[in-house]
């Protein structure tokens, strides 16, 4: 699973760049070494360390689905030193990637259940991976509902995929923007994700909920799910902490005795409640 | 002034450091300063002591 020198990244070529939102881009990366590309495997929810030599490394989840072979995708926002260096890359440039790290969404256990995806802002990428994974195995799941919100219409990422999901008969898509973030021709909901979710009154029996978003959104989404009978072990989320090594050595990303990089990033709400407020 | 004193105190060869006050209008002086510094530094040769520092101490 990992290269001989643990910290030696694969060399990747930037195959395609998609502008998602102001300062937010998606990279499609292919392995420059076919051999490595062929036997590279990962599961939904895992992440990697993307590196620009001379600048540093940064941590994002793998946003493409494990069912799509030959490439991996990541979505990032230009904020720090390395992401600014990423923002200067063009198609065809080289960069580094090491991974996959962390645990995964237990998709096999969800077979035969309804799936309710709830995402906010830039947190759609870790969800997109597991959404496409589920949609590529669509026949295993009952109905699939996606609730996605962002501050303004511009901030919505994966706009073309949202349309694609919207058109699919077997997917119920609800997109929303924060009050005041809508544009005149905006047809979706207006309101924060937790309020829109409350209005939808989601049914909880035989349903798995997956929640990803800023801490404030998670804090207000959980009571809504609780109100409609969702039990904590059926609610999954991913945590994010400052990371450097990604493999449980550098002692930085711990929440209590767990390392977000090795024992996470995917946690159930039951686990989340035991964790001290250190994330 | 303080920076020059500090560099000197810490052992940097301040013959290799020049301070000059050149306004945007003084093109000639600027050329003269640059050529002069260039000539002086060529005479002093490469600054080995400082170049040896690059990654010294990395195991």
């Amino acid at each position: 699973m990992s290269t001989p020198n643990l910290y030696k990244p694969y060399i990747m070529r930037v195959d395609k760049i998609t502008e998602e939102a102001p300062d937010v881009r998606t990279f499609r990366l292919v392995f420059t070494n076919e051999e490595e590309g062929k036997n590279f495997e990962f599961k939904a929810g895992q992440f990697g360390e993307y590196s620009i030599f001379g600048e540093g490394e940064c941590t994002f989840c793998i946003a493409s689905s494990p069912t799509r072979k030959g490439y991996i995708e990541c979505t990032y926002r230009k904020a720090g030193r390395v992401t600014s260096a990423l923002a200067r890359l063009e198609e065809g440039d080289l960069m580094g990637f090491r991974g996959p790290y962390g645990n995964t969404f237990p998709i096999d256990e969800w077979k035969g259940k309804n799936l309710l995806f709830i995402a906010g802002g830039i947190a759609l990428p870790p969800m997109r991976c597991v959404i496409w994974n589920a949609l590529d195995l669509r026949e295993y799941f009952k109905d699939v509902t996606i609730v996605y919100g962002a501050r303004t219409v511009d901030d919505l990422v994966y706009k073309h995929e949202l349309e694609e999901w919207g058109k699919r008969p077997d997917v119920k898509l609800v997109t929303t923007v924060d009050p005041g973030g809508e544009t005149p021709d905006w047809k979706g909901e207006i309101g924060f994700v937790p309020t829109v979710l409350d209005k939808m009154a989601p049914r909880s029996e035989n349903t798995i909920a997956i929640v990803c978003g800023p801490p404030i959104m998670i804090k207000f989404t959980f009571p809504v799910l609780d109100k409609y009978g969702f039990t904590p072990e059926n609610i999954y989320t991913t945590l994010e902490n400052r990371m450097k090594c990604g493999i449980g050595k550098c002692g930085r990303c711990n929440v209590g005795k767990y390392f977000v990089c090795k024992d996470g990033p995917v946690f159930t709400f039951t686990q989340l409640k035991e964790l001290p407020p250190e994330y | 002034m303080s920076f020059r004193n500090l560099m000197d105190f810490m052992g940097i060869d301040t013959r290799r450091v020049y301070f000059s006050w050149v306004s945007a209008a003084e093109g000639a002086k600027w050329a003269e300063v640059v050529n002069n510094v260039n000539k002086e530094i060529q005479k002093l040769g490469p600054y080995e002591a400082y170049q040896k520092l690059a990654w010294a101490g990395v195991e």
Partner: protein, 267 residues
Amino acid sequence: MEALQKKAQELLTTCRANVVIGYGQGSDDKPRAIFVTDPAGADKLIFNDTCKQNLGVYLMKAEVKKLGKMGIFATKPVMRTVVLLASENQLTDIDVTVIGVNEDGSLVDFENLQALENHVKTITFEPDPADKAKIEAIEKMTVEERWAYWQDQLSKCFKCYACRSACPMCYCSRCTVECNQPQWIPVPSHHLGNFEWHMMRAMHLVGRCIECGECGRACPLDLPVHLLTQKMAADARKDFGWQAGMSLKLENPLSSFKPDDKESFIK
């Protein structure tokens, strides 16, 4: 000692301070900083000639400020620290009450910072003779010897930043070495990284260092890093006639300029 404890109780009961910062008994007869918030705890306060740590560093610590108005027992270096911090708009009369402590333990109750400044102006400060001699010894060396001396000393540094954390004047929330766009000072503690770090630290203390020597005492490896900042303080006196921590007005050499400043080195 009793005068100290009674004064602390008085400050707390008359709400001239919500927390009093002073020295208390540490491990193996070492003193340590203590924070008295309740008058009953004032009996833990001590003062003797081993109490050297510059307590001014706690006036800039968020967790201490959160406790409310700070009272502090100030030896001479701490007095100059408070004046310097006040001149940089970090402390006002609302934040701090200063009680001067002379070598013999007698107290001077300063009604406000202006009273403190007037008192500080009456004292003539002499740099520590031992450090002064060391600085002169280094100055007499040739450039190559000085380079070898500082390389030998600073190559041992492992950048624990105790010198920075112990200094009351190093209160930046994000130090230059922690800004990485661009990364001016290398983060790793290799020879170049240490050299540039200590040069940058000394540079940011020109005309601000009050020569308390705490950075040298705080260094776990006993590296003479205080000589760098004390040399800069001596130069500030020689070149600009400036002594840090003596005036409430912000006039230190790198933050102001006077028409008659020397420019001999600019050609």
